[in-house]
Amino acid sequence: MVKFVVRRLALFCVALVLLSVVVFACLRILPGNVAAVMAGTNSTPERLAALSEQLGLNRSYPAQYFQWCSDLLHGNLGISMLTGRSTMSQALVRAQVTLPLIVLGLLLSLIIGVPLGVLAASKREGGLHSVLRYVSLAAGAVPALWGGLLLIMVFGKGVGFVGILPAQGFPDNGWASPGQALASLVLPALSVGIISGAQMMRYTQSALDGVAESGFVTMSMAAGSTRARALRTTGLRIVLPDLISVTGLSFAQMVTGVLVIENLFSLPGLASMLVTDVGNRDLVKVQSELMLLAAFFLLIGLVTDIAHRIADPRLRTASAVVDAGSGGSSGEVGGAR
């Protein structure tokens, strides 16, 4: 176990270094620079040169790269050339919107997905089974943008049929007014949560279906348990490690939807910041932001893997057995994207 964690940590570091090079290189291929953006359409070449000098854009790439790396190692993500604020503080402010949104969305998706998935798996036929199946299929196939728009049309304050929830914006003083902040996150979180929940539900169901064929559930049923109960107790326990993996993955995979939804609801989150910064060629800031996000997701991956390890006793003894569930279950991982 210790060896596994150490190895995984080492991988984490290697991946980070590789990513930093890729990110840095990608950003230098771009045409245009931040000085030109600042100077705008009515500037003279001298003014451009003066600004470039002032912003340190004239140094060599390796020099800029190593400077950036050493700053990163010191926890200094740099100061935005454009806004003059520290990237870290700006990112933290923005993350206060994005992270709660992701977490709320994920919670919703688990709350919707897992119980309904169990329900669908235990009802193997009949109306409810089909209804659940079709609902999850359709809901999982909705583009996040469209889902959000439909929710706004139904619940959006001022525009919807039942206009009860704010359809845009975040309170100016942020979480200082928690009710307002939470209210403004309800519709966005629902948008991502329902879609991701439908996928989670399909996943849970198909994983449980796989397990149902295994001996464990049959044994449990032989011991007097109903199929439904056997699935809830034994079945869930068996698919738990895979569920953890999928949850970790969907965390990362929900992000595309989250960024779209953030824009749609004009929430001042990381998405709008990243997209504008790329547009403004605020390179130091963009590369630090990308690194920060990448590191964050790598970390989630790391934690997920370790949790998966802990939850799965078979892996602890390190003999990889392909259980009946994995063929069907991991098949759905792609679907969660």
Partner: protein
């Protein structure tokens, strides 16, 4: 063919085949004919309601929505096909590497698949969009990288089972090269899982296209795509709600069809895989 027949004989499968068939037909059709010429816009007639001339109405530049969506189906198909091919390639390469004899190579392959898997598509796309700008390539590459790695990870257990099977042992004993054994005995075993995964990946590529295009890093302006139709009409949903219905509904239906197709495909091919898995388990 018999797989298709099997799928056709199930209600869901038939639905998915019909939808996907229509998609292909419309793609081919849009190359030669659309109800209105593609480049034509009519500024006096923007956001028109559905009429005989424009069965789905017009968009913000006065273009015929139906023609534009038809043209978009071609773009969508390009994205889906290119993504799937690339993803399959990446998947095969990484699976092969992870089976390599050299510990280092397989280790590296595992490192890359395991760690990079946790990087979301949109982040890959953002990094790629910086040098490439908004382009179809960004959608294809970011999806292909992400799904390719995912494929490799999913297919790995079956690949390693197949690699340790008696067939490979026998083939190796008979003097065939590692590569040949891989090609003849391992990779064919992966076709079922790959085809199932790729049909799901096709659906999610369409969804990703819509999201990335909305964020301004997907399909560029002037290129027809369902995502760009969706995002350009999104701003007007409260005034012209009908216009936004079409692209959204279209995407949903096609993605559902692709997912159903994947489901049916799995059912059609799964027992074959399972039989071999069971066989190899017994041998152990």
């Amino acid at each position: 063919m018999s797989i298709l027949r099997y799928i056709w004989h199930r209600g869901e499968g038939r639905f998915s085949l019909i939808v996907l068939g229509c998609w292909l037909i419309v793609c081919a059709l849009s190359l030669v004919w659309t109800p209105q010429p593609l480049g034509q816009s009519d500024g006096y007639n923007t956001w028109a309601s559905p009429s005989l001339a424009h069965p789905m109405g017009t968009d913000g530049t006065g273009r015929d929505m139906l023609s534009w969506l038809m043209a978009g189906s071609g773009t969508e198909l390009q994205i889906v096909v290119a993504t799937c091919v690339l993803a399959a390639l990446i998947g095969v390469v990484f699976v092969s590497f992870s089976l390599a004899r050299s510990g280092l190579v397989s280790e590296i392959a595992t490192v890359i698949t395991d760690t990079l898997l946790s990087i979301p598509i949109v982040l890959i796309a953002l990094i790629l969009a910086v040098p490439l700008g908004a382009s179809i390539l960004v959608v294809i590459l970011s999806c292909a990288i992400s799904y390719g790695l995912n494929l490799a990870r999913i297919a790995k257990p079956q690949a390693s089972l197949a690699a340790t099977s008696r067939y490979v042992e026998a083939a190796r004993a008979a003097g065939s090269s590692r590569w040949k054994a891989l090609r003849t005995h391992v990779l064919p075993n992966l076709i079922p899982v790959f085809s199932v995964q790729l049909s799901i990946c096709a659906g999610t590529a369409i969804l990703a296209e819509a999201g990335l295009t909305y964020l301004g890093i997907g399909v560029p302006a002037g290129t027809a795509s369902w995502g760009s139709s969706l995002s350009s009409s999104a701003s007007f949903i409260s005034i012209f709600p009908l216009t936004v219905v079409w692209p959204g509904a279209l995407i949903t239906v096609v993605v559902v069809a692709l997912n159903l197709f994947g489901d049916c495909l799995r059912k059609a091919v799964d027992p074959v895989v399972n039989a071999q898995l069971r066989a190899s388990e017994v041998r152990r």
